[in-house]
Symmetry: C2
Subunit: 203 residues, 2 copies
DNA sequence: AACAATACCGAACAAACGTTAGATTTTGAC
DNA sequence: GTCAAAATCTAACGTTTGTTCGGTATTGTT
């Protein structure tokens, strides 16, 4: 295995190969299910031989771990970016709309949900770590809801955490039925959800 | 392969074994992902040898097909049952609440979502058939929403099919985070969703 | 140019997979 | 009890999987 935490911060060839491996593995995990992707396919897509992968990763699960880690981290960055872009002084509900939209776009782009089921197979230690990342991610949305509540924008008598999970779940699951060829854009869907979320559909 | 469409309606031993195979396969697909369940594990759980399975099913995919078929069929039955129980003359929104509750309960009990992933791997012919079943299932909810619209119970300006998918998705995804040990019951969650769906959360 | 360290190849491994086919047992009708 | 049909067993098959390892290029430094 190549340089781990060595003082050398020079970009070696192994670093590039490792990055390329994570890149193609991520793409393959998106396009096909995470179970259909073999190390040989990853290797082929990275223009490398199968055995060479084990110079960079000690096992297949380590690749999955790297992909998941980068995945959640990126999603968090994108959602936080969208929230920031909405402006810190905008309404919490506007920022929530931005966050949900970014979440949906990321989920669609990376077919997030198909990965999650792989988590159960992960070693306990790594799984816990990933769950923590997931909690941090959810906290963004919970924070916005809480802020809206504090500013008196919300009704009372509902469970914010359940609503948060229902809303995020609705979008996460949207990746299963969303049709890029259809008339709806991701923003349309996010708008629709936000509309239901705020005003409801009943007269 | 045993009796197919023979006039004999006697319950043979193969019928029982076949039923038992579907039963344990269903359970195994729930508990573990559908990809981790091997033919040998199904056989072992059914107290049979691996090779004997091929007396009842011509391939592994045929088992999966049988499981999916029974799964969607049962879900449909339960949802329709809950709707009927609510009374044909009750408000469409009350019946929608009943349908969503039944959907959630079935999803929780059978860990439905974990199965859907396998659909992409199914032979095209079988997949189309299953998609059709899925559409029939969704039509129950679409019908209730449409009826509510016709009776003037709903606002205008939202897309019913998107709302339907968001609502069903929110519950389907609930299977990923629902904690049976927690304070919430499935009915609580269905109530919460129905509350948001109708009244929204904003002031 | 020479020489370690680095990066990768390529062939093999054992294990597990779905599946097959012949032998063997179990079942139900007579 | 007999005997064919039905149901299951048993032992293998050919693949594919993740992984290992000794060898071979490639690289960067002197």
């Amino acid at each position: 295995m190549p340089s781990e935490k060595s003082g050398k911060d020079r970009i070696t060839k192994a670093d590039r190969t490792r990055a390329r491996l994570i890149e193609v593995a991520t793409r393959l995990f998106q396009e096909h299910g995470s179970d259909e992707v073999t190390v040989r396919r990853i290797a082929a897509a990275a223009k490398i031989e199968a055995g060479s992968i084990y110079y960079h990763f000690s096992s297949r699960d380590q690749i999955l771990r790297a992909v998941l880690e980068r995945g959640v981290g990126n999603a968090r960055d994108e959602v936080l970016g969208a929230v920031a872009e909405a402006g810190a002084d905008s309404s919490p509900l506007v920022r929530l709309r931005a966050a949900l939209g970014a979440h949906l776009k990321y989920t669609l782009r990376h077919h997030f949900s198909s990965r999650l089921k792989a988590i159960r197979r992960l070693p306990k230690r790594l799984r816990d770590q990933h769950m923590q990342q997931e909690r941090d991610y959810a906290a963004i949305f919970a924070g916005l809801l809480a802020e809206a509540g504090r500013k008196g924008l919300l009704q009372s008598g509902f469970d914010p955490s359940v609503v948060r999970m229902l809303a995020m779940g609705a979008l996460t699951w949207a990746a299963e039925w969303y049709d890029p060829e259809g008339a709806m854009t991701p923003d349309d869907i996010a708008d629709e959800l936000m509309r239901v979320l705020t005003k409801g559909i009943a007269k």
